[in-house]
C-alpha cells in the first residue's frame, strides 16, 4: 500500500513536470490546433525542422543565446574559480563578508538590481554591448558557480596540493597537475549551471542588451504576450534542443567516465 502511494506521488509529479513540456512540443509541431480542439489535427515534425534551418530570426536568436552563454561561461569561471579556491583553502580576515557578498545578487530583488546595474551600464557606455550583457549574466551566475566549486574543492581540502609542493612541484605545476584535475567535477557543475542561468535570462538580456540581443528566451516573451503560441513554442522547443540534449550528454559521459575509473 505504501509503495502504491509512493508510485502515485511519483506519477503526479511526473505529470506536473512533463505536461507543460508536452504542450509546448505539441504546439510547435502541431498544425491547426485551435480552440476547442483537444489535440492538434496534424503533427508535422518536418515543418519544425524546416523552420529551424531556414528561419533567419530563429537562427540569429540561437546564435545570440549560445554566444552569450559561452561568453558568460568564460567570464564566470575566470572570476569564480580563483575566488572559490581562496574560499575553500584559506582562512583570512573578511572571509565571512565575502561569503555574504557572493550571494547578494541572489538576495537583492531582481528588478532592483537590474535597474540599478542598467543605470550604471549606461554610464559606463556598456549598454547594448556584448560585454555588458555577459557581465550582467555573470553577476547572476557567480553565486551558483562559486558555491558548486567551493563545495567540490572543500571536499578534498588542499591536502594533495601540500603533497605536491612537498615533492618539489612549483605553484603552477601543482595547479595544472593537481588542483585542476581534482576540481573537474566542480568545474563541470559550474559550467553547466552557468550555461543554464545565462540561457534563461530574460529581463537582464533585454534591459542591458538594449534590445540588441534577442535570445531564444527574450523572443518567446513578446510572442507569448501577443498570443502567437505556436511560434513561441517553436522557440521553446529549440531552447530545449540546445540545453537539455547537450547537458544530458555531458552528464551521461561524465558518469560513464566515473564508472570506468571505479571499475579499473
Amino acid at each position: 500500500m505504501k509503495k502504491l502511494t509512493k508510485l502515485a506521488i511519483f506519477l503526479i509529479f511526473s505529470c506536473f513536470v512533463f505536461l507543460p513540456l508536452l504542450v509546448i512540443v505539441l504546439l510547435a509541431v502541431g498544425k491547426s490546433w485551435n480552440y476547442p480542439q483537444l489535440l492538434p489535427q496534424q503533427i508535422n515534425f518536418g515543418s519544425y525542422f524546416k523552420l529551424l534551418f531556414t528561419n533567419h530570426e530563429l537562427l540569429t536568436s540561437l546564435t545570440a543565446s549560445i554566444s552569450l552563454a559561452l561568453g558568460t561561461i568564460v567570464l564566470t569561471i575566470s572570476i569564480a574559480y580563483p575566488t572559490a579556491i581562496v574560499l575553500a583553502y584559506y582562512q583570512f580576515r573578511g572571509k565571512k563578508l565575502l561569503n555574504i557578498l557572493v550571494y547578494l545578487p541572489l538576495i537583492i530583488p531582481g528588478i532592483a538590481l537590474l535597474t540599478n546595474v542598467d543605470f550604471m551600464m549606461i554610464k559606463l557606455g556598456l549598454d547594448g554591448s556584448f560585454l555588458g550583457v555577459i557581465s550582467i549574466h555573470t553577476l547572476f551566475c557567480l553565486p551558483y558557480a562559486i558555491k558548486l566549486l567551493v563545495d567540490n574543492l572543500a571536499l578534498l581540502h588542499n591536502r594533495y596540493e601540500v603533497v605536491s609542493r612537498n615533492l618539489g612541484a612549483s605553484g603552477w605545476q601543482t595547479f595544472f597537475q593537481i588542483t585542476l584535475p581534482l576540481s573537474k567535477n566542480g568545474l563541470q557543475g559550474a559550467v553547466m549551471m552557468t550555461y543554464i542561468v545565462s540561457m534563461t535570462q530574460y529581463l537582464a538580456t533585454l534591459l542591458v542588451g538594449d534590445g540588441k540581443y534577442l535570445t531564444l528566451s527574450v523572443r518567446m516573451f513578446p510572442f507569448t504576450q501577443a498570443g502567437k503560441y505556436k511560434i513561441a513554442a517553436v522557440y521553446g522547443v529549440t531552447f530545449m534542443l540546445v540545453t537539455l540534449i547537450p547537458l544530458y550528454l555531458i552528464d551521461a559521459w561524465m558518469s560513464h567516465q566515473e564508472r570506468r575509473v571505479i571499475k579499473s
Binding site: K6, I9, F10, F13, V17, L19, P20, L21, V23, I24, P36, L38, I79, P82, T83, V86, Y90, F92, L98, L101, L104, P105, L106, I107, I108, P109, G110, I111, A112, L113, T115, N116, F119, M120, M121, K123, L124, S135, I136, T138, L142, G171, I196, M199, T200, Y202, L203, S217, M220, F221, T224, Q225, Y229, A232, A233, G236, F239, M240, L244, L247
Partner: protein, 292 residues
C-alpha cells in the same frame, strides 16, 4: 609567494568585477536616490524621495501584497519540495534516480516556458477547460475559474511552483545523499522511530540547505518581473511590475524615486534574508547543520 599576496591576487578578479558592476551601481543609485541627478538639473540632496516613497499608498500596498504573495508561494514550494525530497532521496534505487533526473528538468528551463504552457492549458479557452466541457464535467468554459491574470495570482503561483519545487528537491537531495545513513543508524540503535528520526535528525541536518533555498526563492518571487507582467492581475499589481513601469516610462525626473524604491527593497530583502539566517541558526541544526 606569501599567502596574503596570493589571496589578494586570487580575489582580485572578483573584487574588480563587483566594484565595476555591483558596488558602483549601488553607490550611483544611492547618490541618485538622494536627489543628486545633474543631467536633469536635480541637485538638491536629501531624503525627500525616501519620504515620498513611504508616504505613497500605492507603493506600500503593493509592497505588502508582494511580500505576502512571495512568502506564501515560497513556503509552498519549500514544503512540497521537502516532502518529495524525503520520499525520493535514495542513491542506489533506479526509481529515485529517475525522479531526480525529472526534477532537474524545470530547473534548466526559463519561466516563460511554463507561462506559455499555462496559457495554453488553463486560460479560459485553454485545454483543460475544453477537456472538462468535452467530458461533460462542466457545462461551458465560462464556468472554469479564472486562473491567469486572476486576483489571487494563481497563475503566477503555479509558475513559481513548477520552477521552484524541483529547485528545492535538487538542493535537498544533494545534501541528503551526502549525509547517507550514518546518523540515522545511530538514532535507530538508540531507539528512535522513523518519525523521530526525521524530526530530530534528518530535518535539523538539512535545515540550513532548506533556509538557503527559501531565501533564494523568496528573493526571486519578491523581485522578478516577467511572470507577474504576463500572468498578473492589473488591479493588484505586484511590486516588480510597478517599479519596471516607473523605470522605463522615460520621465527622468522620476528616476531618483525609482532608485530610492530599489534601495528600500534591496535593504529590506537583505535584512529579511539575514533574519531568516538568524532564525535558522537558532533552530535545531543551526550549529554545524548540513553534515560535513
Amino acid at each position: 609567494m606569501p599567502t596574503k599576496r596570493k589571496i589578494i591576487l586570487l580575489l582580485s578578479p572578483f573584487y574588480l568585477f563587483f566594484t565595476l558592476f555591483f558596488f558602483s551601481a549601488v553607490l550611483k543609485s544611492f547618490v541618485t536616490s538622494l536627489g543628486y541627478y545633474p543631467i536633469v538639473g536635480l541637485k538638491k540632496i536629501g531624503l525627500q524621495y525616501y519620504g515620498s516613497a513611504f508616504h505613497s499608498a500605492t507603493f506600500l500596498a503593493s509592497c505588502e501584497r508582494t511580500f505576502l504573495f512571495a512568502l506564501f508561494s515560497t513556503a509552498m514550494a519549500c514544503l512540497v519540495g521537502l516532502g518529495l525530497a524525503f520520499l525520493f532521496n535514495g542513491r542506489k534505487n533506479n526509481f529515485t534516480r529517475i525522479f531526480f533526473k525529472i526534477a532537474q528538468l524545470p530547473v534548466m528551463l526559463p519561466h516563460i516556458f511554463i507561462v506559455l504552457a499555462l496559457l495554453q492549458l488553463i486560460s479560459q479557452t485553454g485545454l483543460i477547460p475544453s477537456l472538462l466541457v468535452h467530458l461533460g464535467i462542466m457545462a461551458s468554459i465560462n464556468h472554469f475559474p479564472l486562473l491567469v491574470n486572476d486576483p489571487l495570482q494563481i497563475g503566477i503561483i503555479l509558475t513559481y511552483l513548477w520552477k521552484e519545487i524541483p529547485f528545492v528537491i535538487v538542493s535537498l537531495v544533494l545534501v541528503l545523499r551526502q549525509m547517507d545513513d550514518r546518523y540515522k543508524i545511530v538514532a535507530v540503535n538508540l531507539g528512535a522511530t522513523k518519525w523521530q528520526n526525521f524530526w530530530h535528525i534528518s530535518l535539523p541536518l538539512i535545515q540550513p540547505a532548506l533556509i538557503n533555498a527559501f531565501i533564494i526563492n523568496f528573493a526571486f518571487n519578491f523581485g522578478s518581473y516577467e511572470v507577474p507582467y504576463l500572468l498578473g492581475n492589473q488591479q493588484r499589481e505586484l511590486l516588480p511590475v510597478y517599479i519596471y513601469d516607473l523605470y522605463v516610462q522615460g520621465d527622468l525626473t522620476q528616476l531618483p524615486l525609482t532608485m530610492s524604491l530599489n534601495l528600500i527593497l534591496s535593504l529590506f530583502s537583505i535584512l529579511f534574508a539575514g533574519l531568516l539566517l538568524k532564525i535558522g541558526r537558532f533552530l535545531p541544526g543551526g550549529h554545524t547543520g548540513g553534515s560535513k
